[in-house]
Subunit: 497 residues, 2 copies
């Protein structure tokens, strides 16, 4: 698996100089990512493809590339795989579709593909996938150029789209993938293999799984159970409803199982289950950024009653508790809370004469509250308001922007320091956009700030759940029923179809 | 109620030339909104406040203003209200807190406040509120400057924050409030009054309610029932969990009831219930923008299997159905779908040689599918990819940006036209940000595009539910238990405390 995510050289089939070819787009993405090793396009008549020297035949290549990527018409795939085998290439990413997922003839073709791969000892990612993106290695074989930084989320996905089409989504949150695998039809390399790789990958702090149907149930559970104690795993399963099952089936030919079977499997493995793509990455964000809480008791700090009440309600619905504050905390807080505010939980300040109290004194007191395990803070201040205040305080107009930025940087820095020094998780929520400087400043410093209290509460609940499961995964490893009991990798020709 | 949302002139208590005073911030917001009528600051010693001529006493004002706004220390409110009454002012917004919501002495003060108001026939909004924002009238009495356009969402909120702190949130979606009321402690004007106003307001296409606890249950249900047949109402209730109830109580002193009581009340009224702030405005977005569907059958159009499967699953979980396509539709679609794609539902194109098919031919066919009531489309194309395609097609570099914008404008225009001409709802989902030009172009043309399939599915379910309830609200108007049976407005001194 290592070479497929960290190749030194790549043979590329299916790119041309025409933008209408999908392969061309994939090679452009690879170039845009800044891949540093040699790339060898194979083309039957062009001498150069996208500025690179092209070869008529894979056998003509000056070296044996670590990996071949194929974006060819279905009918050409198996013969090309055969040629790769003869050349000595042992890792192949097959992007082309038209195999098991279309049924009929496609099933026969995929069986043939697997036989060729076995004969040559080739490990295949795909077919019907978008390959792999390892941004720490400037590798991106997918359709869409990578935007944003390399990050700490490792992804193994039965959907290629969820690899490529979330680059931008994650970048807006200041997040990114460490390595992301699109496993496609899983003719050979599957979710379990990808998960094993990510468990060992030093850039990966949390593993995300997008699942339409699991083929090797027992191996999946055993692998996950061995990973969870040292790295959290979050899974989104979309095959649980009838409509989702049918759609997944026509997508990758995977056979989905009843929702409660998967629920049980996740629970046994210690995997955190997400119910949407949003949750999948919210949970990864919290789990990859924050220390784990010792329990489920949350203290809420807010400037506003409504967002405080909504957060309290959201915490309650997510199974979290809001303890009463200790006398000690109440005493320390009192000087900072006006009489219109509330020193219960949520701590509702309503208004602070000195805005800095909200970033230094008050969270500093609350994070030490021994009755609470997590501090949840509502962040609301628009840059506009900060600037307005500075203007009114007599700051010269030309200095207002700089001073506002400086002030907000200091405020965000103070909050981030609290997380580092306290060892307790601190989570933010807001209705401001992620590009508001006061929010961006927190996120860039590793403090997750979620859109709305519900997302924050569910992310905290995921932290709590992971802390509990890590220490005591439920029950033993029993996976029966639809998955069979074999730990051996079964023959998978037509499996599940 | 009309004058309080549409005043021609305002007396303003509590603003000074010091930014640390909350009142100053509110007056600055009012000025920033561009309020066109006269504003009279009352100040005990300043001659001018924020550039406006100030008056020592309300009795000195040259006219009787339509509305007075008070942002004064608690102890000064009642005597000032008395003075307003003597002046002849009949609408007062009391922003000041420290009344019923703090208990004890505050309860006594609020009772006194109500008595003064009755004596003079004054209608009071608040206390402990942020007043009203009517952007069609450039009116904003709240703490935070209004950002973004005036819109079609009317809000009545028991939280002031949810009025002010969502301006920016809505603006990012291209949405805005028509008029938004923060009702605070509801000493006089309450949710029901605000709802009645919004029902008649011609700028309001949908009513949003943020609820911590309802005082006049019967009146609430009757009013909502009379509104729903001609205008949708969406409610978020945060008092349903134990934690939410306690937080709401300390916020406005409202008594929350068991969750199922509220659930029943919403159902009887034909109100759509939202479970988060995000849902509240997602539902309003869909209900205010789209024609109502005839049923719950959805057809999904996607470029990608994973997002398609996730959308199918989300639809299933939201109680929507995915019908099989009719033979007629399959026949018309076939020329546009490559062999790797799927002409079942979701329609998964995987790849289109001509990207315009995705915006013209294919949705044009699908929206005519008689077996479906709603068309749900996955939008993914980043501007970068469009530009890359144009570059490769030989468009001169200096024209690429303009041509990309033009192409995307045409594509977005084609989709928006489909909604207008078909009379069927068309909803989008994406993982791109709302600022991506291809997404922004759709939203600006009135096509809701949600972040992720789950939000889209739930918004469609809200459309379906509203269509069903509008035609047949469940059962008769029975509201018993905690709310009593009186339709008369009860005396509310200390109610619910």
């Amino acid at each position: 698996m290592y070479k497929i995510a960290n190749p030194r050289s790549i043979a590329f089939f299916g790119a041309s100089n025409h933008i209408t070819a999908m392969g061309t787009n994939l090679l452009l993405s690879l170039q845009a990512a800044g891949f540093e090793g040699p790339v060898y396009p194979i083309h039957y008549k062009e001498d150069r493809v996208l500025g690179l020297e092209a070869y008529r035949d894979v056998l003509d290549l000056p070296e044996i590339p670590d990996v071949a990527v194929m974006v060819l018409p279905t009918r050409m795939v198996n013969s090309t795989l055969e040629a790769c085998g003869r050349k000595g290439i042992r890792k192949v990413v097959i992007v082309s579709g038209g195999f098991k997922e279309v049924g009929g003839e496609g099933i026969v073709l995929e069986r043939e593909l697997v036989e060729i791969a076995r004969r040559y000892g080739i490990r295949v990612l795909g077919p019907n996938c978008l390959g792999v993106a390892n941004l720490h290695r400037h590798l991106n074989t997918t359709f869409i150029p990578y935007e944003g930084p390399a990050g700490f989320i490792g992804l193994a996905s039965q959907s290629g789209s969820f690899v490529t089409q979330l680059f931008d989504y994650l970048a807006r949150l200041g997040l990114g993938f460490s390595t992301a695998f699109s496993v496609g039809n899983e003719a050979d390399i599957d979710l379990v293999d990808a998960m094993e790789y990510l468990a060992l990958c030093p850039h990966t702090r949390v593993i995300a799984l997008y699942i339409e149907g699991i083929r090797r149930g027992r191996a999946f559970v055993e692998t996950a159970r061995s990973i969870v104690p040292h790295k959290p795993v979050v899974a989104l399963y979309v095959g649980g409803s009838e409509t989702g099952r049918q759609a997944g089936f026509s997508h990758t030919g995977a056979l989905a199982g009843p929702d409660d079977l998967y629920e049980g499997m996740f629970r046994q493995s210690g995997i955190i289950r997400a119910r949407s793509v949003t949750e999948l990455f919210d949970f990864c964000w919290a789990l990859g950024s924050l220390p784990l809480p010792k329990g489920r008791r949350v203290v809420i700090q807010t400037h506003s009653g409504g967002p405080g009440a909504a957060a309290a309600d959201a915490c309650g619905r997510s199974g979290l508790e809001l303890p009463a504050l200790s006398d000690d905390t109440v005493e320390k807080l009192t000087p900072f809370v006006p009489h219109t505010g509330s020193v219960s939980n949520p701590v509702d300040l309503t208004f602070t004469k000195n805005p800095n109290d909200f970033y230094w004194s008050i969270p500093g007191i609350l994070i030490q509250e021994e009755r609470a395990d997590v501090l949840l803070i509502y962040f609301l201040t628009p840059t506009q308001v900060v600037k307005r205040a500075l203007e009114q305080m007599g700051v010269p107009p030309e200095q207002v922007s700089d001073q506002a930025q400086k002030l907000m940087d200091e405020q965000c820095g103070a909050i981030a320091r609290l997380v580092r020094t306290s060892g307790k998780p601190l989570v933010g929520y807001t209705f401001r956009g992620p590009d508001d400087p006061s929010i961006r400043g927190l996120m860039d410093r590793g403090v997750p700030v979620f859109q709305g209290p519900e997302r924050a509460a569910r992310a905290i609940a995921a932290l709590v759940k992971h802390a509990e499961r890590r220490d005591a995964p439920e029950g033993d490893c029993h996976v029966k029923g639809a998955f069979g009991g074999a730990t051996e990798r079964p023959r998978r020709d037509g499996d599940g179809v």
